[in-house]
Chain length 114, copies 2
């Protein structure tokens, strides 16, 4: 599987973790390294992949590079999801009512499926 589509890029859990961090704020490589407890070369390599795929961009601050999100590729993913949303948004109201009822109702049986 080639890492060329946005989907392949975010298939890697560490990269998703990095993106999750950067969603909060700009961070240096060292910040990420410490926050995620990953070896530095690993962080740099994942950042390279993310950068080349357009998910992040770097800004130089002395010896550090501050990385931040670039949203475009994630928007692609979001767009791809569009045709599927009807599977849940259509029934969202009914589902919400259902969940509301379950939450407030006393438990009648345990071990519900799914």
């Amino acid at each position: 599987m080639n890492v060329n589509s946005a989907f392949a890029i975010i298939a890697e859990p560490n990269r998703r973790a990095i993106l999750g961090l950067l969603a909060q704020s700009e961070r240096s490589v060292g910040d990420i390294e410490r926050a995620l407890r990953m070896p530095q070369p690993s962080v740099s390599k994942h950042l390279r992949v993310l950068r080349e795929a357009g998910f992040v961009e770097a800004r130089i601050d002395a010896q550090r590079r501050l990385y931040r999100i670039r949203p475009e590729p994630l928007r692609e993913v979001d767009a791809w999801l569009a045709p599927f949303r009807r599977f849940w948004s259509a029934h969202l109201d009914a589902l919400e009512r259902h969940l509301d009822r379950m939450e407030e109702a006393p438990r009648r049986r345990k071990g519900r499926k799914r």
Copy 2:
């Protein structure tokens, strides 16, 4: 990379194509095979991966299996995107004008003005 997360499953382009088809309607293996011009074993194998990951379920109709979408795993993906939406929703109006010009919108988003 283990194919255990929803993200790894949809990293494979053929699987996304299959899901795209099934988003429209239930289909048999043969339908998919013809629509996507893929070898039948390949279709079956991808469907197996999708099924075991909860993206699709099969219903038996004589010798055929009719596959259809199960939305849960895709909702996970949708949920993961939440923290990133602020990066583009702020500029959504401009984005929509842009998209209107590029592709055309098959479905108008409701209540969004420009």
